[in-house]
């Protein structure tokens, strides 16, 4: 190429780079504009940017101030909302996260019984308090609109002199919500997550990249802040919580079952109980023809064959579920082996991952191992029917593991479902969780990332649940979904609730 040609090429390249830098900025600047909201008193129909919107309750005037229902504030102003409730369940405080720029939220807290509100931590005096009417919380609209730099004008009814309509001209804030999220952790729900996030990508357009690196790996990645969310089958230990350095929320996504699978001629369906399984894994039952197995399985001819126990060699949430079950149900197991993601096994061979255990079982005649239900079904492995705490033999299934979650759940949803009291529950069932930091402003994360993450979590808890049963995972019970949504709603960005 000639020297002139080279010079022209370099000029063109520089020009292209300059255009690439300037154009997106110009586009972003031109996008800023306003939105007009017109509310009519005592009417549930409002106009937002020219189109009609129905409110869940009509605005009204109290003490000369127009009050509107809180959901309207969230939907039309893009605000994040969270509540503080009193012991009796009634709302005592409302926190709002109002997007006042593309990267920040203005935190406003209003108390139901006080005229003092706070804006970004600074106290502000109101001339009216938020009100509860017909079970809904109403907020003074003018105060909130003005915090967002909106212009508020009124028209009055000439015959009565009262306010008839209120017009709010609101600056539109465009938060750049990314369309990419990444997460890592448990392999137990990996098939579920890849399917869920595939549906999420095709319906919402956000790519969620989930990699199954094991529960321990997922916790490490979240601690190192290299992913948007982690995933684990075991809730965080005290040491892990301390390492995180900030509160972490546990959002359950499904109920899974760990099954005992084995390699015997004819693939008989065996019945087992916690004591027998514990004895097998402790090495006190060593042959399939042992009377303790035979007693549970009348009519099944068991071979004279040595039992080879297979367990996980890696740090595993599945191991945690399995050993937690034996710890809960068998005192001898609790005192000698105990529960954890990795324990010191008295006997047996180790395999890596659910697939590794399934592989070892299918290669060894007389082997027994524990895997997630989906792995057993898709590999055509037989699995045992387990006796639960009520004495019933339960086939592991979506329905029977789902029953295990029909218990009184704590608000933080960090709960073991093993050895459930429910008479029809499969005993080795467990939640698996997505882990996120409650405060989302860390390590340079943007408001957009926080919004994208919150949207994804809410979708997983609602629409995403329809994916569960097609794949062999139990749906979350309604009570768990509600508590989980409350946890998601408690996520903040710089202390302010994150908009939906």
């Amino acid at each position: 190429m000639s020297a002139t040609g080279r010079r022209i090429l370099s000029i063109v390249l520089v020009a292209l780079i300059a255009i690439g830098l300037v154009v997106p900025g110009a586009l972003a600047a031109s996008a800023a504009s306003t939105k007009t909201i017109v509310l009519t008193m005592e009417s549930t129909v409002a106009t937002v940017a020219g189109s009609s919107v129905t409110l869940d309750a009509a605005p009204f005037v109290a003490n000369g101030r127009t009050m509107i229902p809180i959901r309207f504030v969230a939907e039309t102003m893009g605000a994040g909302v969270s509540y503080t409730t009193k012991a009796n369940g009634s709302v005592s405080q409302v926190s709002l996260g109002l997007p006042d720029s593309p990267t920040t939220l203005k935190a406003i807290t209003l108390s139901l019984s006080s005229t003092t509100a706070t804006v970004d931590g600074q106290p502000v005096t109101l001339d009216t308090t938020p009100t509860i009417r017909q079970g809904r919380t109403f907020l003074p609209i003018r105060f909130i609109a003005e915090q967002l730099g909106a212009k508020v004008t009124y028209t009055t009814d000439p015959s009565t002199g009262r306010t008839k309509t209120i017009t709010i001209v609101l600056p539109i804030v465009n938060v750049n919500v990314p369309t990419q999220l990444s997460g890592a952790g448990a392999t137990f729900p990996l098939p579920l997550y890849t399917r869920m996030f595939d549906v999420y990508n095709s319906s919402i357009g956000t790519r969620v990249n989930y990699q199954g690196i094991g529960s321990g790996g997922g916790i490490k990645a979240l601690t190192d802040k290299t992913v948007d969310f982690g995933a684990s089958d075991a809730f965080l230990t005290v040491a892990e919580t301390n390492a995180m350095g900030a509160p972490v929320l546990h959002i359950p996504t499904c109920v899974g079952a760990v099954v005992l699978t084995y390699n015997l001629d004819g693939n008989p369906t065996l019945r087992l109980d916690a004591k027998t399984v514990s004895d097998i894994y402790m090495g006190t039952i060593t042959n399939w023809r042992d009377s303790r197995i035979a007693a549970l399985n009348p009519g099944v001819t068991l071979p004279d064959l040595t039992i080879t126990t297979i367990h996980r060699s890696d740090s595993s949430g599945t191991t945690s579920i399995f050993t937690s079950y034996l710890t809960a149900a068998v005192p001898a197991w609790k005192s000698t082996v105990g529960a954890g993601k990795a324990v010191s096994w008295p006997t047996g061979l180790g395999g890596s991952g659910n697939a590794g255990v399934a592989g070892l079982v299918s290669q060894h005649k007389g082997a027994i191992g524990y895997v997630e239900l989906v792995y057993a079904i898709s590999s055509n492995l037989p699995f045992a029917t387990m006796r639960n705490s009520s004495g019933n033999f339960i086939v592991p299934s979506l329905a029977s593991s789902g029953r295990a979650a029909q218990v009184q759940l704590p608000d933080d949803l960090k709960v073991l479902l093993v050895n459930s009291n429910d008479s029809q529950a499969y005993p080795i069932s467990a939640f698996t969780w997505l882990l996120v930091y409650r405060e989302q402003k860390y390590a340079g994360r943007t408001l957009g990332q926080a919004i994208a993450l919150k949207q994804m979590l809410n979708w997983v808890l609602t629409t995403g649940q329809s994916v569960n049963e097609g794949l062999g995972y139990g749906k979350l019970p309604e009570a768990a979904v509600q508590k989980a949504q409350k946890l998601v709603n408690s996520m903040t960005y710089n202390g302010a609730p994150i908009p939906d």
Binding site: Q180, S182, A184, T187, L190, P191, T194, R195, F197, D198, V199, N201, R207, N209, Q211, G212, I213, D224, K225, T226, V227, S352, G353, N354, A355, G356, A358, V374, Y375, S378, S379, A443, G444, L471
Partner: protein, 278 residues
């Protein structure tokens, strides 16, 4: 048969058998990958991203794109360093510092790839708060540089000293001799060294586990997590679905084919170099 000829025959047989075994092992591996892999190869396999787990179809286009991008960027980062280090060592043969550099290159070559992976995770991924293909390329460049440096040095050492002396005799400056005589004569040898190094890093899995992270989507942005063939094989082989385990074989087939092509290309170039010299 005398004792001497007996010994000779036995040793001859052992040597031949060992050579045969080497071929047999490679043949068995290639044959198995070929037979297991070719069955599931189709157009979709090369052009589509993976289907969700449990659904049939889908391909590994995401991993093919990833392997090419990560490997080429690693080569782009590592090539100048590797070649310059090689030139330095070759030009300063016998000097203490050159010997130290050579020793370090050999030591770096011997560092297990998993260690390179942890290094990449700690110093790139954690530092920048994100898994990315670029951090994978940088980690792989650490494996690329020492191999390239050693090959460059060895090829440069093969350049006949007569050629260089002739250039000096004509009054050429040292820089001119290095560039116009040594590098130009050894160019194809260096290129083949680069290709061998690329083939080596293209098959690495351990550093990618910690850095590239993997992705089910077709990703072109080097700053985002990305898949690669070895990663995809690892994920598929440990999945619960037989269809994916079969796709792992096909992906292995594609990866081996890619590496063999690079290796063969390199050998071909070396053969040309030797011919030129003769």
């Amino acid at each position: 048969m005398t004792r001497r000829t007996f010994k000779n025959n036995v040793m001859g047989l052992l040597v031949a058998a060992s050579a045969g075994l080497l071929i047999a092992v490679l043949a068995v591996i290639l044959w198995h990958i070929f037979i297991s892999g070719i069955r599931y190869l189709n157009w979709d396999f090369f052009t589509k991203a993976p289907a969700p787990m449990g659904e049939s179809g889908g391909g590994v286009f995401n991993a093919i794109v990833g392997t090419f991008l990560i490997t080429f960027v690693a080569a782009a980062i590592g090539t100048p360093f590797g070649i310059f280090a090689g030139i330095y060592v070759s030009e300063h043969r016998g000097q203490r510092f050159a010997d130290i550099v050579r020793l370090c290159a050999d030591a770096l070559q011997g560092v297990p790839s998993i260690v390179i992976g942890i290094f990449g995770y700690t110093f790139l991924v954690v530092r920048f708060r994100s898994y990315s293909a670029l951090s994978a390329s940088i980690a792989l460049a650490f494996m690329f540089v020492p191999t390239t440096a050693r090959v460059t040095e060895e090829v440069l050492n093969l350049v006949p000293s007569g050629l260089k002396e002739a250039a000096y005799a004509l009054g050429a400056r040292p820089s001119s001799v290095v560039w116009n005589v040594s590098i130009k004569t050894a160019a194809s040898g260096i290129t083949s060294g680069l290709m061998t190094s690329m083939a080596r890093v293209a098959g690495e899995t351990a550093p990618l586990l910690f850095t590239a992270f993997g992705s089910r989507y077709i990703e072109w942005n080097m700053l985002r997590p990305m898949s690669a063939l070895p990663l995809q094989i690892y994920i598929y082989a440990s999945s619960p679905y037989p269809a994916l385990q079969q796709q792992a074989w096909s992906a292995a087939f594609v990866l081996v084919l890619l590496i063999l092509l690079l290796q063969y290309g390199a050998k071909h170039l070396i053969a040309r170099v030797l011919r030129v010299k003769a």
